[in-house]
């Protein structure tokens, strides 16, 4: 099974803290199993680094099954690596060839400051959600399922938007570091449903305002975000966000 093992040169971004400069370091990693996931490969690298007395590479990860949105990484210039609709944890080493050089960078955006090495602070997304990405409900007993009838097709559209895992690949891949795809998904999933009507106008205005305050860029409709999104969120949500924003600004309640 020797053909299942590859040797790689890794160019990894190393940065001690948010204020330091940071630079690329090269590491040789031999005998990488092609059955490994990309994150497992980084685990092996870290073991090798620790054994040789060096500091391990910091990177974000959690569920390792593509649903939590914690892993990130710009791999050879592509958010979450070369595959479409895939997170870094779902990327396998069989996508790489023996002798390849793999460049690994953190997400780069003013709204996502580097914490350490490949870890960035995505708190900006949490603050955007806090600004309006919620619905108000009475506490107490859980309401009956299907108490509010919603057409299947409407549910599907809302669910497609709700598939966003908030990983930040849209910002990372966008040449303007714009967060429009993320915000549009979070606005859409609630704006379409009856439960989201109460805060519909206030929500979109607050979330857009927070997005601007966090220092994200402006959308130029290149659709690079859609191509990079592991959850395949469509840019039609961005058009919906624009409609919602216009509607709320021009005729929404104060």
């Amino acid at each position: 099974m020797s053909s299942d093992l590859i040797n790689l040169t890794l160019r990894v971004w190393r940065q001690n803290d948010p204020d330091s400069q940071g630079q690329f370091e090269s590491y040789q990693l031999n005998g990488v199993s092609t059955h490994m996931s990309f994150l497992e490969m980084l685990d092996v690298l870290n073991e090798q680094l620790i054994e040789s007395g060096q500091e391990s590479v910091a990177f974000d990860h959690d569920c390792r099954e593509g649903i939590c949105g914690t892993c990130s990484l710009m791999i050879n210039g592509q958010a979450h690596g070369p595959d479409k609709a895939t997170t870094t944890c779902q990327l396998h080493m069989r996508r790489f060839n023996d002798g390849d050089t793999v460049t690994i960078e953190p997400w780069r955006a003013t709204g996502f400051p580097v914490v350490k090495d490949l870890v960035v602070d995505r708190g900006a997304f949490d603050r955007i959600i806090s600004a309006g990405g919620y619905v108000s409900v009475n506490t107490g007993n859980a309401p009956d399922g299907n108490a509010i009838p919603i057409a299947g097709t409407t549910q599907e559209v809302a669910m497609d938007a709700a598939a966003c895992i908030g990983c930040g690949a849209c910002v990372a891949a966008c040449k303007n570091a714009s967060a429009m795809l993320f915000v549009s998904a979070k606005v859409s999933q609630l704006a379409i449903l009856p439960q989201g009507q109460q805060e519909r106008s206030e929500r979109v205005v607050s979330m857009v305002s927070q997005m601007d305050d966090e220092g994200f860029g402006s959308c130029t409709n290149t659709s690079e975000c859609e191509a990079a999104c592991p959850a395949e969120i469509s840019v039609s949500n961005i058009a919906r966000l624009n409609r919602e924003y216009l509607r709320a600004s021009l005729c929404g309640r104060d």
């Binding site: 160019r11 690329f24 710009m74 050879n76 210039g77 592509q78 958010a79 070369p82 479409k84 460049t103 960078e105 780069r108 955006a109 003013t110 709204g111 891949a173 040449k175 303007n176 570091a177 714009s178 429009m180 857009v208 305002s209 997005m211 601007d212 220092g215 994200f216 860029g217 402006s218 959308c219 130029t220 409709n221 290149t222 659709s223 690079e224 191509a227 990079a228 840019v235 039609s236 961005i238 058009a239 919906r240 966000l241 624009n242 409609r243 924003y245 216009l246 600004s249 021009l250």
Partner: protein
């Protein structure tokens, strides 16, 4: 860039002080609001291009038809002046918004990637290439407009003898074949085609026009419109030069 951006914000800050305009200006100053304004001014300029091309196509109808049209247009007096001021304001607003949104995007990524690739196929989206060149193609068109106004509106080109030409038709037939104009006009019209091929589609998306049923039609229609405008002007230019 930031200094330029602050200058661009001055009209907005002044307008916000006018009673009643505050909420509108605040809405227009957000990233989404700026893109909406960008779209509206862009589409308004497209409307002007259609009118301008319609007028220019009269060059094919001969000297008499074109001169009659030109004289009628210029006889509109104050109405024409108002339209020209409106057009200039729309153009400056479009340019100012371009500077402002570009500055916003530059600030949004202070450190660039060492390596950056696209996940869209090279030809997956015909406007994908154009979308990366909006500012440069726009500035190129802006620079051309200065020449265009000097050439044919104010008639100030020192190397051309405007006095000997009688009527708009004769002036056009003198200016366009001059080497400087021919090259500059050709390049600018190609830039215009590239700019519009992304601009029209993008403007509609910024205004929220998107539906799975219509998106393909919008995409193809925008592309056809962009190149119909550009090729229309190129035909006029080619025809005039070949006939000179």
């Amino acid at each position: 860039m930031d200094a330029l951006c602050r200058i661009c914000c001055i009209p907005a800050e002044l307008l916000a002080k006018v009673p009643g305009l505050g909420p509108l200006i605040r809405m227009c100053c957000t990233s989404v609001g700026q893109k909406v304004l960008m779209a509206l001014t862009g589409l308004a300029l497209c409307g002007f291009l259609v009118t301008h091309l319609s007028g220019n196509l009269l060059l094919f109808a001969g000297e008499e038809a074109f001169n009659t049209y030109a004289e009628k247009l210029h006889s509109m007096g104050a109405l024409l002046k108002a339209a020209e001021v409106g057009l200039l304001a729309t153009f400056l607003a479009h340019l100012g918004l371009a500077v402002s949104t570009t500055a916003m995007s530059r600030r949004a990524r202070s450190k660039q990637y060492a390596q950056k690739e696209s996940k869209q196929g090279a030809f997956a989206l015909p406007s994908g290439g154009a979308s990366n060149w909006m500012l440069l193609t726009g500035l190129g068109i802006g620079a051309f407009l200065v020449l265009h106004l000097v050439d044919l509106k104010f008639k100030l080109r020192p190397d051309l003898d405007y006095a000997t030409q009688d009527g708009a038709y004769a002036t056009v037939n003198m200016v366009l074949p001059s080497p400087v104009s021919f090259v500059a006009y050709s390049v600018a019209l190609i830039l215009l085609g590239i700019h519009l091929s992304h601009g029209v589609r993008s403007a509609l998306q910024s205004l929220g026009v998107s539906h799975s049923k219509w998106n393909k039609l919008i995409e193809i229609g925008s592309m056809l419109f962009a190149w119909a405008i550009a090729l229309g002007f190129i035909c006029v230019l080619g025809w005039v030069v070949l006939n000179s």
